[in-house]
């Protein structure tokens, strides 16, 4: 009934089974209960219907299940029996006006114009009913879209009893700039820049997911040296962000030494990416067919040297944090998300590993240089701010080790090859473990090899609800700390 597919491998669109809605639902519900991740669920117009596409990722088997079902106007919602579908179904309804009947909380996630031709304009952003807790002793706190710091816009609505948060609702969409709509029909000269700017802090992660998709569709084999350089760039991105996050966590509880040091060391990692390609975020490095900049011997020596220095600096700065009891007291037991909650919601990445779920695309669905060089997944099991900080620290250590190994055995040869035309009527699911977690891109080509649809799922898409749940029962004053410990992307979500 449902075929087994591989990640980053292209198949004919006709090879994907189209089921009736009942078995489609049953398969998704059963598989997600059995530990599969609902990596994607989206709609593509098909004749007079909307074709739902589901991608289920089986981390243990390293396989994907791809399923389709055609719906018109409405279908019985998955969410009541499969919570990971919650956000996806809201998106489906918002984009295509197809009603998931029985969805418990159906409202826009981005306040974006619907993708159907005759769609009415969306309600002005923020004009919506928020979940409210009644009672004379409770009060409501509204924060955003403009926040206190230099950060992205989003709206948070807290229901509080005194200082205690009973419920948090997160309302996004302020960063919506129409990327998926613009990419469909492409690629054009702009597409690669849309990928590089899906989430600026994940430039390498998202661009890698995109080029992997293009290369699979064109059956292009990327030279080993390019694969190795891409992996180095991806790990540098992880190092910069994880280091910055640990610094920011320290800052949020007022522990300034580590905040100052890690803030600076993060910049050192960004500058290493700039050493490679001229840009601190890796813009211009990754292109279909390979990479545009090589790491000559002199640069390689310099990179290794700078890594060793940064390694020392991070070690000392984080040791200070991890040996200060007042810091640990603030981290431990704050913002806990249990393993069961993560499984129920389909949480991915750092947040999932911090609750003991050892999923990591680099090991489960390896691609590129990760097929050659293994990274051990990090994990912790307390699910609190401490655990999310700890997973980051471990991943910093693993990434440093990984880059040193790649540098020591950097394959010789070209760094790029021609990535030819994309096959017609093909489909590919591309997975990358970005620093936040699983990035999933799904490309469907038309008869000319152009994108009939291009779906992007940033890890944040799966995880925002996790943050909302982690806040339950917490002091509202701990929100910045909890929020930072997830550090989700607004622009990656809003697209």
């Amino acid at each position: 009934m449902s075929g087994d597919f591989r990640a980053n491998a292209c198949v004919a669109r006709t090879a994907v089974p189209v089921l009736a809605i009942a078995p489609f639902r049953a398969a998704i519900i059963e598989q997600t209960r059995g530990g599969a991740l609902l990596a994607a669920l989206f709609g593509v117009p098909h004749e007079s219907a909307l074709r739902l596409h589901a991608v289920l990722a089986q981390p243990t088997a390293g396989t994907l299940t791809l399923l389709c079902a055609d719906v018109v106007q409405e279908y019985p919602a998955l969410t009541p029996e499969c919570m990971p579908a919650h956000w996806f179904e809201r998106e489906l309804w918002e984009q295509w006006r197809v009603l998931p009947v029985g969805h418990p909380w159906l409202k826009p996630i981005r306040f974006q114009p619907a993708r159907t031709a005759d769609a009415p304009m969306p309600a002005p952003i923020g004009c919506t009913e928020f979940f409210a807790v009644a009672g004379g002793e409770t009060h409501e706190v509204a924060v955003g879209p403009v926040h206190a710091g230099i950060i992205e816009p989003g709206h948070f609505r807290f229901q509080c009893y005194g200082e205690q948060v009973l419920h948090l609702e997160i309302s996004l969409g302020y960063q919506h700039r129409g990327i998926e709509r613009a990419v469909a029909g492409g690629p054009t000269a702009r597409t690669i820049h849309h990928m590089e700017t899906l989430a600026g802090d994940t430039t390498i992660g998202h661009t890698l997911a995109y080029v992997q998709a293009c290369e699979a569709l064109a059956e292009c084999r990327v030279p080993p040296r390019a694969q190795a350089l891409r992996a180095i760039a991806l790990e540098l991105e992880r190092l910069a962000n994880h280091t910055g996050d640990i610094g920011a966590l320290a800052g949020d509880i007022g522990y300034l030494p580590t905040a100052a040091y890690c803030g600076r060391i993060r910049g050192d990692f960004l500058n290493m990416t700039a050493l490679l390609c001229g840009n601190r975020f890796g813009r211009g490095l990754v292109r279909p067919g390979g990479v545009l900049f090589d790491l000559d011997d002199e640069r390689r020596t310099q990179l290794a040297q700078r890594l060793r220095q940064a390694e020392r600096d991070v070690r000392v700065a984080t040791q200070l944090l991890w040996t200060t009891p007042s810091v640990l007291a603030r981290f431990e037991g704050t913002g806990t998300l249990t393993r069961a909650q993560c499984e129920q919601l389909g949480v991915v990445g750092v947040a999932a590993r911090a609750s003991g779920i050892i999923n990591d695309v680099r090991g489960d669905f390896p691609a590129g240089w990760y097929c050659q060089e293994h990274v051990s997944p990090a994990s912790c099991d307390t699910g609190d701010v401490y655990a999310r900080a700890m997973v980051r620290l471990l991943e910093i250590q693993h990434a440093l080790l990984f880059i040193h190994c790649v540098l020591a055995a950097l394959p010789k040869g070209p760094i790029t090859t021609t990535c030819g035309p994309r096959g017609a009527a093909r489909q590919v699911v591309s997975l990358v473990e970005g620093w936040r977690g699983m990035i999933c891109h799904v490309a469907l080509t038309d008869a000319a090899g152009q994108f009939a649809a291009y779906k992007i799922i940033d890890p944040s898409f799966h995880n925002w609800m996790g943050l909302a749940l982690a806040m339950r029962g917490q002091q509202i004053s701990d929100f910045p700390l909890c929020n930072k410990s997830f550090n989700l992307s607004y622009c990656g979500h809003d697209l």
């Binding site: 403009v146 230099i150 960063q175 700039r177 702009r190 803030g263």
Partner: protein
């Protein structure tokens, strides 16, 4: 405590001596473009064709590059067989007017420092409210960096504040999405006059990679009067710092 002190010593003094000494940027850094019209072949428009955001135009006078649209991807440099467009390591890119971002040689864009009352008010203390109005968050990331010990923005009298009522101006990133327009306008209205508007990044100047997408507004100056434009995608922290300092009349040579 002793550990904290030892760590402090280990981490050393890291603040840049700026603007008196300019730090060395990576050799592959793509800064101010150099346009050499004389090299450009009459029948070629390869650079125009590859630019993803139509930043390069060519007319009878030759090619011109709009720094406000440029993503600094270097596609034009690679496409040009005659080396008529090359990117230098010059990080100073800010301009006081939109027209000042048009590049036809290798001229440094100009920022006119605040004068008279504006200078008296803001020259020694400038408080800014940052508004992210779309975009990819890389601009904000490299604005945040100015608050690290490396750049130590506070020593120049510049500070980012939480409340617009405490601010002397807004610093905008992002193309201004349809969904952020209202919040941006409200924030700007809440800043007491006289006030400044600073646009940082290709998005905020021209819409950047999202130019002409219906979900966005093609930049801050389609909504508000902009006093300072800082190009880049994202601009290097030094480019941002230089722009701010020039505005306050504190720029280096």
């Amino acid at each position: 405590m002793i550990r904290a002190i030892l760590t402090r010593l280990q981490q050393r003094y890291r603040t840049l001596v700026y603007p008196t000494r300019t730090p060395v940027l990576p050799d592959r850094f793509r800064g101010l473009p150099r346009i050499e019209r004389a090299r450009c072949a009459a029948d070629c428009a390869a650079c125009v064709a590859v630019c993803p955001v139509q930043a390069i135009t060519k007319d009878t006078n030759g090619i011109a590059l709009d720094l406000g649209r440029c993503l600094f991807c270097g596609a034009c440099e690679t496409a040009c067989a005659y080396h008529a467009v090359t990117f230098t390591r010059e990080h100073r890119l800010a301009a006081g007017s939109r027209a000042g971002l048009r590049c036809t040689a290798q001229e440094l864009p100009r920022v006119t420092a605040l004068q008279g009352r504006m200078h008296a008010l803001f020259g020694r203390s400038l408080k800014l409210r940052q508004v992210c109005a779309g975009g990819c968050n890389a601009c904000e990331a490299d604005i945040n960096v100015l608050n690290t010990v490396v750049f130590d923005l506070g020593r120049f009298g510049i500070q980012f504040v939480a409340a617009p009522r405490h601010a002397d101006g807004v610093l905008i990133t992002g193309p201004v999405t349809a969904n952020m327009r209202g919040a941006l306008e409200k924030t700007w209205q809440a800043v007491p006059a006289p006030k400044l508007v600073i646009a940082v990044g290709a998005c905020a100047i021209s819409g950047g990679p999202y130019r002409d997408q219906v979900e966005t507004h093609n930049g801050a100056d389609t909504i508000l009067p902009v006093d300072l434009y800082i190009p880049g995608c994202p601009p290097h922290p030094l480019t941002i710092l230089d722009g701010l300092l020039q505005l306050l009349g504190k720029g280096g040579g």
